[in-house]
Amino acid sequence: MQDDNKRFVERDRDWHPPAYAPGYKTSVARSPSQALVSLQTSSVSELTGPDFRQLRIGPHDNDLLMNFREDPALAGAAGLPVGERIILFGRVVDQFGKPVPHTLVEMWQANAGGRYRHKKDGYLAPLDPNFGGVGRCLTDEQGWYRFRTIKPGPYPWGNGINTWRPAHIHVSVMGPSISTRLITQMYFEGDPLIPLCPIVQTLKDPEAVETMIGRLDMARSRPMDCLAYRFDLVVRGELQTYFENQ
C-alpha cells in the first residue's frame, strides 16, 4: 500500500463556486445536473499526485518580462513588454498553515491591453511583441513562489451586453496530491470591476472572494523598478489517519 495513511480536509463546496451559476452563461450547459458521487473511502488514487522536482524549469520560466520575444534579436529595453512592471509572489500553505514546498505553480494572463496571445483571442487591443503571458515555478522549501510580469489589462467578453473581466492572472497549483489540485484567478486589490464580474460573482460568500485578491506590497516592491503584489494560496489541509479499520 502506497502513501494512503492520510486524509485531506473535506472541500467546502458551498465556499467554492457552484457548477451551475447562470449569471456566468457558459456554466449553464457545462454544469452536471446530477449530484457528485462522494468517495467515502479515500484511496491512494486520490491521496497521491505528481511531484515536479525533476521537471526542467528554465531560468526565465517565472519571468514574463524576459521569457517571450517575437524577434529574438531585440534585447535590452527594446525587448521589454509594455505595461506596469510587477512582482507577483506569495506562499502556498495548507489549511493548517503548513507550507507546501516544491509544488508547481503555473500562471497565465493577458497583456497590458487585455489581449491574450492565443489563436482564439480576436480582441482589438494589440498583441505585445515582447509578451507571451505564461509562467511557472516551484515553491521553495518554505512554500514561497515568485513571478515577474506586467499587470494585465481588463477585457470585454461576450456574456452580458457589456461585460468586462477585471484584471486577473490565472493561477494553477498542484499541492501534494490530486485532491489539492486547484485552479483559480488572482484579482488586484481595489479593482472596481471585481464586484461587477459574473465569474467572480459565481461565489456566494464575499469572504471567499477575498481569498482571490492579490494585495499591493510596498515592502516587496523594487524602488524605481517594479511594484509587488502578494497572493497567498491555501490548499486543502492534510491530516494523518491514526485510527482506521477499527
Binding site: 456554466s27 505564461v134 494553477s172
Partner: protein, 210 residues
C-alpha cells in the same frame, strides 16, 4: 491594516483558496502548443508512456460534450494513473519511460478529441484491502466549469474487476456506472479506448467528490 487574502474558518484552520474557471485561454498556461505559443524545454503533456515503458500500450481518446450535445472545444484534461503493476509513480520525470501524470486538451480542430498515449494501469488496492479495477483519474477544466470536474475512466474489457470495484459499486445507479466505462477499439492493430465525457443531460458522466 490590510486584510490578508487567506480567511480563517475556525481558530485552527484557514479556508481553501476559492476555485475559478480556467477560462477560454487555459492553453496559454497549460497547453502552450495548442495556444500557438512556442514550447519550453520540457512540457507536461499527453505522452505518458514512451515505447519502452512496461505494460500494454494503449491510446485513450474522447470528446467532451456539453448539455446541448455539442463538443466542448476548449477543455483541458489532467490524467493520474498507476503503472502496469498498479503503483503510482509520483516523481514526474520526462526521462523516464512512464509518468503517472499527463495533460491533454480538446481543440477547435477536427473532431475536438483529446487523447493520451499511455499504458493500461494495473489494479490498485484501497487501504481497506478492497481492490479497485484498473482506472485512470481524470480532471476536467474549461470555460464554464467553475470548479474542475473529477471522474474516472474504467475499461470495458475488465468485466470481472469492474463488477468487484468498490468505487463503481458505490454509484447507486447501475445505468450511471456505465458512463465510466471506456470502449475498446482496435485501430491499425493498436488498442485504443474511447471515453466520451458528457457534462450534462442524457448519459451524463459520473463526477466524484473526494
Amino acid at each position: 491594516m490590510r486584510q490578508p487574502n487567506s480567511q480563517p474558518c475556525s481558530e485552527l484552520m484557514l479556508r481553501e483558496t476559492a476555485s475559478q474557471t480556467a477560462g477560454p485561454y487555459v492553453h496559454i498556461g497549460l497547453a502552450l502548443d495548442v495556444a500557438g505559443l512556442p514550447e519550453r524545454d520540457e512540457e507536461i503533456w499527453s505522452r505518458m508512456a514512451k515505447p519502452d515503458a512496461e505494460g500494454e500500450h494503449i491510446e485513450v481518446i474522447g470528446t467532451v460534450i456539453d448539455g446541448n450535445g455539442d463538443p466542448v472545444r476548449d477543455a483541458l484534461l489532467e490524467a493520474w494513473q498507476a503503472d502496469a503493476s498498479g503503483r503510482y509513480q509520483p516523481a514526474f520525470d520526462l526521462q523516464k519511460a512512464f509518468n503517472s501524470f499527463g495533460r491533454t486538451a480538446t481543440t477547435a480542430a477536427g473532431n475536438s478529441e483529446w487523447s493520451l498515449t499511455t499504458i493500461k494501469p494495473g489494479s490498485v488496492a484501497r487501504g481497506d484491502g478492497k481492490v479497485m479495477a484498473p482506472h485512470i483519474n481524470l480532471a476536467i477544466f474549461a470555460r464554464g466549469i467553475n470548479i474542475h470536474l473529477q471522474t474516472r475512466l474504467y475499461f470495458e474489457d475488465e468485466v470481472e474487476a469492474n463488477a468487484a470495484c468498490p468505487v463503481l459499486g458505490a454509484i447507486e445507479s447501475p445505468t450511471r456506472r456505465q458512463t465510466l466505462i471506456a470502449k475498446r477499439e482496435e485501430v491499425d492493430g493498436k488498442v485504443r479506448y474511447r471515453f466520451d465525457i458528457r457534462l450534462q443531460g442524457e448519459g451524463e458522466t459520473v463526477f466524484f467528490d473526494f
